[in-house]
């Protein structure tokens, strides 16, 4: 009973916060919230590889950019009504691409995997910038049409909220599934995984496909926020900020990455308004969190929850 409550509490908080914004949020808040949930989906999908399987991809932006460009370019070519269909094609394309890249990179040792994923994403960025007749080059793509119903900021937020929630629910199921346990096992002891009869590479590949698929959905959704996309979505700083946000929030908890994204974006918004040196402030906060609380914001709150529980005379949870 108590156990059920603790597993459901984060979901409750999620619905309370992001659901209530539908009714009380102003234009600016809705705009920020859209970014938070979409990047949050990206970060949680990334964490399937990072926190769960122990694979550091430094190039998940390739799937984010792919999703955004497929959605943006299709809507641009075939009209706004095609926008929603493109959101289905984007993840399918990401799965195909992830199989290709995964087969090339996942058999290598961890460091080489990280470097190769970075190289692939930079390559995609280069292509996107140089092949301007097809992709719009440096300028990206503007005025991406959307269906009438999704035109306003609030409507688009509700649409994104529904899709992101459905995706998070699937990823949450995955986290608690047998396959999820195998991924955690691979992180802790890949040798033992083979000696209980499972193929490490194939499980990693499926994890990579799943992570990439949901990342492309996030990218596709992003194309609709400002109706504009740009090649920077592929670039290594994009992958890098997702890694930072995930660590900031806590990579050992399912919702940790979403919390990291929310804190990061709120800080950027608040501090960015006050000073142009906001990236210094973010850097300082990052260093503090990583040095003092390697388990991220979720780790901090668990730490204080335990302290509180002890004061209340309860036994520490083993």
């Amino acid at each position: 009973m108590n156990n059920k409550l603790t597993t459901m509490a984060p979901w409750l908080a999620y619905f309370l916060i992001f659901g209530s914004l539908i009714f009380v949020g102003g234009d600016h808040t809705i705009h920020i919230a859209s970014q938070v949930i979409i990047l949050g989906l990206f970060a949680i999908a990334f964490n399937v590889l990072f926190g769960t399987t122990g694979l550091l991809s430094f190039g998940q932006a390739i799937f984010y950019g792919l999703g955004a460009y497929i959605t943006g370019m299709m809507a641009k070519s075939f009209g706004g009504d095609f926008f929603v269909w493109a959101l289905l094609i984007a993840p399918a394309a990401a799965i195909v691409l992830s199989v290709l890249l995964g087969v090339l990179s996942l058999r290598l040792s961890d460091v080489y995997f990280t470097m190769l994923t970075l190289a692939f994403a930079q390559l995609a960025w280069g292509i996107c910038v140089k092949w301007s007749s097809f992709t719009g080059g440096d300028d990206g793509i503007q005025a991406i049409p959307k269906p009438e119903l999704l035109a306003g900021g609030l409507n688009y937020y509700i649409f994104s909220f529904v899709i992101v929630t459905a995706c998070l629910y699937l990823l949450w199921r995955l986290d608690r599934s047998p396959f999820g346990s195998v991924l955690k096992g691979i992180r802790q002891n890949p040798t033992r995984i083979s000696f209980i009869g499972m193929n490490v590479f194939r499980h990693k590949l499926l994890a990579y496909m799943i992570s990439s698929c949901f990342t492309a959905i996030a990218g596709g959704l992003y194309a609709g926020i400002d109706k504009s996309i740009h090649p920077d979505m592929f670039v290594w700083t994009m992958s890098g900020s997702i890694i930072l946000m995930t660590i900031l929030g806590g990579m050992r908890s399912f919702f940790g990455p979403l919390i990291g994204v929310a804190v990061f974006i709120l800080l950027e918004d608040e501090i960015g308004r006050a000073t142009q040196y906001w990236s210094f402030v973010i850097g300082a906060i990052m260093i503090t969190v990583v040095l003092l609380f390697p388990k991220g914001i979720v780790g901090i709150s668990r730490h204080f929850a335990r302290l509180f529980a002890k004061k209340g005379g309860q036994r520490d949870n083993p």
Binding site: V182, Q188, S194, M198
Partner: protein
Amino acid sequence: MTTLELRQVNKHFGGLHVSKNITMGIEQGELTAIIGPNGAGKTTLFNEITGYITPDNGGIFFNGVEITGAEPESLVKMGIVRAFQVASLFIDETVYDNLCLAALAFHGKNWNIFTNRSVYKNVEEHCRFILERLGLSGKEGLKAFELSHGDQKVLDIAIALTMKPKLLLLDEPTAGMSPDERVKMTHLIRAIHEEFKLTTIFVEHDMDMVFGIADNIRVLVYGELIAEGNAEEIQKNPAVIEAYLGHEVL
């Protein structure tokens, strides 16, 4: 019937010849010990049999089928399962979850992405049975890293048994255990060997255990199989006495 057969197996690490022309046959239902000084190549032999490394040449056969160079995961599915000299665990998970992962793999549930793993009642029963049988009940909620050294070894063996082996390889099952734990483990291995109708090979330095429960003993020195036989034969074998620095083997 011969369960495991090695024919002229050789392995070098650089200039070091760690398996020298090893030929042996292990019969179905045999409980055999491999003894030998440190660095004799016992673990290497286990690594070759279980597919962790491939011999330079020679052949390994399981129930008449050649398995030389096969992957560990396919050998596990054929029933060749091992435990490790240094317990190989999922260290942040609970004892129960360590076994559960093995049981999920055994029942082929590892590809299920969207089901909650607690729905598989047969997996749960399987884990409970192993917990009970290996005397780990009551510790199922502890994280693997919280266990004593001895219990970590027990859990390692428990994971192996969860895979329902036909051929079980135990690398120094009592290493790092207290004398009490050793005695318990020794009896447990014999009991389980019979109860699960296993063919078992174990490496061990503890001679009380070796002479106490092994049907057969094989002696490996500098990569070479120098003797084979029952306890009495081995104790009297001059080459073995020589290898153990002139001391009579107890």
